[in-house]
Assembly symmetry: C2
Homo-oligomer: 274 residues x 2
Amino acid sequence: MTKAELFQQITQKQSYLCVGLDTDIQKIPSYLHKEQDPIFAFNRQIIDATIDYCVAYKLNTAFYESLGARGWESLEKTLAYIPSSVFTIADAKRGDIGNTSALYAKAFFEKMNFDSITVAPYMGEDSVAPFLTYPNKWVILLALTSNKGSSDFQMLTLNGGKYAECLFEKVLETSQLWGSDEQMMYVVGATHPQLFQKIREIVPRHFLLVPGYGAQGGDLQTISRLGMNKECGLLVNSSRGIIYASSDKDFAQKAQQTALAIAEEMKKYLQEKV
Amino acid sequence: MTKAELFQQITQKQSYLCVGLDTDIQKIPSYLHKEQDPIFAFNRQIIDATIDYCVAYKLNTAFYESLGARGWESLEKTLAYIPSSVFTIADAKRGDIGNTSALYAKAFFEKMNFDSITVAPYMGEDSVAPFLTYPNKWVILLALTSNKGSSDFQMLTLNGGKYAECLFEKVLETSQLWGSDEQMMYVVGATHPQLFQKIREIVPRHFLLVPGYGAQGGDLQTISRLGMNKECGLLVNSSRGIIYASSDKDFAQKAQQTALAIAEEMKKYLQEKV
């Protein structure tokens, strides 16, 4: 998907919501366990219920891998079920030496047909470059993550930086040399609202994938007002808050109501800025 | 596997070789393609041929994931085939927020029964901690990787470090607070022999997993003399150099000869130091 197509979808749906399909076999309604593929059965209903209110689905691979080969099949089936008009994210946080990253790119962009994959920056340019050779596919690079551990290394200040520069800012700066804002996005956690303005100075045009809204405590208004640019530039993810809005048979209906409520709030911020 | 058991195996086999099962469907002998599971058929022969000369097998998950659910099955079958006396490494370079890392731990330590997994440090302590809750299982944390991109971030110097401290040194220092040398190892690439001495000062007792020997150009003698400690403390990996020593029907025999030659060199270094 191109950046223009993604923006068009945002404009049309008046939403920049990403629904995280972190589907946990332990947490889905028990009556689904009798289905041949309970994970897919759950995801299909969530997708049907939310697709009008979101522009992206993020599938965290951990939830599928924890079920082995069978989980991998549920992942493939779920991806195949999502219409190509909606942006898809493999939240896989991969990254390895060049020839190996090339295989991960093949796994997620060829074997499966994800629009994007999250990649960890620690191993540097040649670990990211293989993902950037696919036209209209995206790398979403971890910059500043939403968890507590983001302060362990990402926020360390560097020697000789242009200003009191942290590692995550260096990641934002350096990685802009690797690919354009038509093929790279950044992960910036909703739990760091005070840093959104600074981040927008470094990457004014890039899309930011913002996890940590909802269950992890981020605030949509602040993120949106500080993080939005002229092409929206935000995909705000909610996983648990939507897909587990109810643990009963009405889970899809509750997911829809929650997604709709978020999208309605997003509409306001979009109208203010875009 | 405990550290004592690993060291005992090293003493017994007089080897600290790790064979990397980076098995690429494009590179295995074509006659194996008629097998029901060509990847597993190849791996089984490599394991049979090399098991007397190595103490560990490292399976890079990218090679298996690139084949989808079928590849995942080959990974599971290969792991199950390796006797429990040999140390097994899921070279997966995972790492995510806590609840998600817990699922990766479940995938690799429960669903499969790997002894260890490689983990990326960028997301900090809570992304690593869930892997450390399993007794006798290991985290192998990326510190200084073997690739060119290791200079992009890992070698940046930090402000206010104890000396001219790089990020990778900070990773070595900080992460020692998270778990002991009975449950953590570090990835240190063979392509940085000049840094082994400094690394041993920071982590004198930990095992180091050393990739980049062979195809990537590292030198076994230098690594061994600078990196070895009283309990050996080294697992030196060779992947392509062993498993693709021949592309014909004699691939297993040539792999055996190559592993044997490396083990014989290792025996010398062990006798000098341990």
